[in-house]
């Protein structure tokens, strides 16, 4: 029962990932794609934590943290590139 609820939650998360992915495909333009990518990374962080719980490996949380850091740096880099700051 509880596990089914968690699985449903992860499925909804995956659907969100897919929806954001569609926005990334249709754009239009680089900026919209970066916004979609930003949302996708945040959703992925949640899903990594879900996998960590699912497989019972608490150390995967480190991966979620590193991923959120790298994603943040990436999005800031693209934003600075778009505003011609690099």
């Amino acid at each position: 029962m509880v596990n089914t609820l968690y699985t449903i939650a992860a499925m909804i998360g995956l659907a969100a990932l897919l929806l954001a992915f569609v926005r990334m495909i249709i754009g239009p333009g680089a900026a919209n794609r970066v916004v979609a990518l930003d949302v996708m990374t945040i959703v992925s962080i949640s899903l990594i934590v879900f996998l960590s719980a699912h497989f019972g490996r608490g150390i995967y949380l480190d991966i979620a943290l590193v991923y959120s850091l790298i994603a943040f740096v990436g999005v800031v880099a693209m934003a600075r590139y778009l505003e011609r700051g690099l």
């Binding site: 029962m1 509880v2 609820l5 968690y6 449903i8 939650a9 992860a10 909804i12 998360g13 659907a15 969100a16 990932l17 897919l18 929806l19 954001a20 569609v22 926005r23 333009g29 900026a31 919209n32 970066v34 916004v35 979609a36 930003d38 949302v39 945040i42 959703v43 962080i45 949640s46 934590v49 879900f50 960590s52 719980a53 019972g56 490996r57 608490g58 949380l61 480190d62 979620a64 943290l65 959120s68 850091l69 943040f72 999005v75 800031v76 693209m78 934003a79 600075r80 590139y81 778009l82 505003e83 011609r84 700051g85």
Partner: protein
């Protein structure tokens, strides 16, 4: 406790989905960012917190708190950087838009001091 965690996680995933849906439905990049940032921040918060409630023996609560704090701090920061970049890159606002003070102010400044660089200080 576990059931409560599962419900919180489910709620979080709904917010994540709403964020993505907002990304899909809103007419321009700024409104998309509005939906994207708020809903995903709250969604991540609830999703992860719910998991930590349900699986507290594998996922330590303290690391989860660090992830949540990090996301709460960086997510609006990157959205701000993107919104600023989008405006500077001249991406137009939606046709429903009522006013744009920033563009007006930037135009005034350019008119006042032609050629000089804009100096933005905090």
């Amino acid at each position: 406790m576990e059931l409560a965690g599962a419900i919180v996680t489910l709620l979080g995933s709904l917010f994540l989905f709403l964020g993505a849906l907002g990304l899909f439905r809103m007419p321009d990049i700024y409104n998309r960012m509005q939906a994207g940032t708020k809903a995903t921040t709250m969604g991540t918060l609830l999703f992860i917190a719910g998991l930590a409630m349900g699986f507290h023996e594998t996922i330590g609560a303290s690391k989860v708190i660090i992830i949540i704090l990090f996301v709460i701090f960086t997510n609006p920061l990157s959205s701000h950087a993107l919104a600023r970049a989008a405006h500077k890159a001249g991406i137009p606002l939606a046709k429903e838009t009522v006013k744009d003070d920033l563009a007006a102010d930037e135009e005034n400044e350019e008119g006042a001091m032609k050629g000089t660089q804009e100096g933005e200080e905090l």
